[in-house]
Symmetry: C2
Subunit: 212 residues, 2 copies
Amino acid sequence: MSKSKNETTESHILNVAHEVFLKKGLDGTRMQEIADKAGINKSLLHYYYRTKQKLFEKVFKLAFKHFFPVVKANIIADIPLFEKIEAFVETYYSILQKNPYIPAFVIHELNRNSANVAEIFKSIFQDNNMEVELMFDELDEQIQKEVKKGNIIAIESRQLIVNILSLCIFPFVAKPIIKGILLENDELKYKTFIEERKKVVSQFIISAISIR
Amino acid sequence: MSKSKNETTESHILNVAHEVFLKKGLDGTRMQEIADKAGINKSLLHYYYRTKQKLFEKVFKLAFKHFFPVVKANIIADIPLFEKIEAFVETYYSILQKNPYIPAFVIHELNRNSANVAEIFKSIFQDNNMEVELMFDELDEQIQKEVKKGNIIAIESRQLIVNILSLCIFPFVAKPIIKGILLENDELKYKTFIEERKKVVSQFIISAISIR
DNA sequence: TATACCTTTGGCCAAACGGTTAAACTACAA
DNA sequence: TTGTAGTTTAACCGTTTGGCCAAAGGTATA
């Protein structure tokens, strides 16, 4: 990865580290590899970020920060539920198409180290002033309003939310399985498959919760 | 992990290695840790399994073998589609409740090393004489038959299959997120949440594909 | 030019790692 | 009791790892 002219060494390191950590995880990444790919000395990594752990946390937090604002905007938007679902699925798939490794990365590191996760989460939310619980409370309210009005079937908000997230995220983390077993290991077929899901998934969800 | 009396050292090592590899992954696992948890000398690991890689592959294959027979039986069963979906979701959730770390483990290792994985896959299927493509062809046929009969909405089989798998597997790989953000970090709430999904998910799927 | 500060480098280190080897232990048959 | 094959151990090896340090390079200011 080559450094662009108007980029500081510090941020260049972060970009390269992002790339390597995402593909190989914390344990699988070598500081030497980051240094080599950034075209610098290994000592320089420690000069800017002191330890591997600290560099990793910077990368990890950044991976989150890219997502949350967009997701949040979609969730708290003041539009009808069905439209919101369509917009959310569309947006989420588009982001993930551009950052396909992030979900598997986040999931693995969260499972590996769920102790530290709580702290990392807190600092992320504090940094960005994102009140997650409030966000979901609003969404919960909107969903249950539709349930009471008889516009959608009775379903617990958390279950619906997890369903939506599952349908959006899983196809990316399970890419090797889907591509390998269902799509003849053909990259193009996989990309087409994902593109089609933008509509398939929102139709699926809306069909599932619509009153017949 | 203590060794039971009627258990050979060799299989005891495998059990302990399974436990450690599943939680920490290939890169995150130390041979010394497996030895310590098994209460044996590190050299003994190499005596029985020669290298870390070989031990890992044994564990990885075993993780798959536990799953496939049950899954296969459900998929090729000669029962109506809706019943099949209900049975599949129920079975899958029950297996995953007992082996919650397997999905994240498999996904991570597949993403980390999809080159070797192809070979491992082949040998697994050869060992167990499982013709996966045939399995999915049969399921595809059953689904499209229902589509043509007008019993379910028009949906591509692969999309439906991925939807089902997403809804079953994702809640386990994303446990830290779901539990942490949606369920107040309460283990019991998470377990209840998963238990409820056995019915929620199959209702959701069937509702989604039913003709209104 | 001289000074001071920030950046970058190469050399180095102790610890941890996967793996090897030779010797010791064990059980059992001759 | 001795021989033998399978099992287990302690000591050790070469390499890799994350991290440290002192010195060199660069640049702006006085």
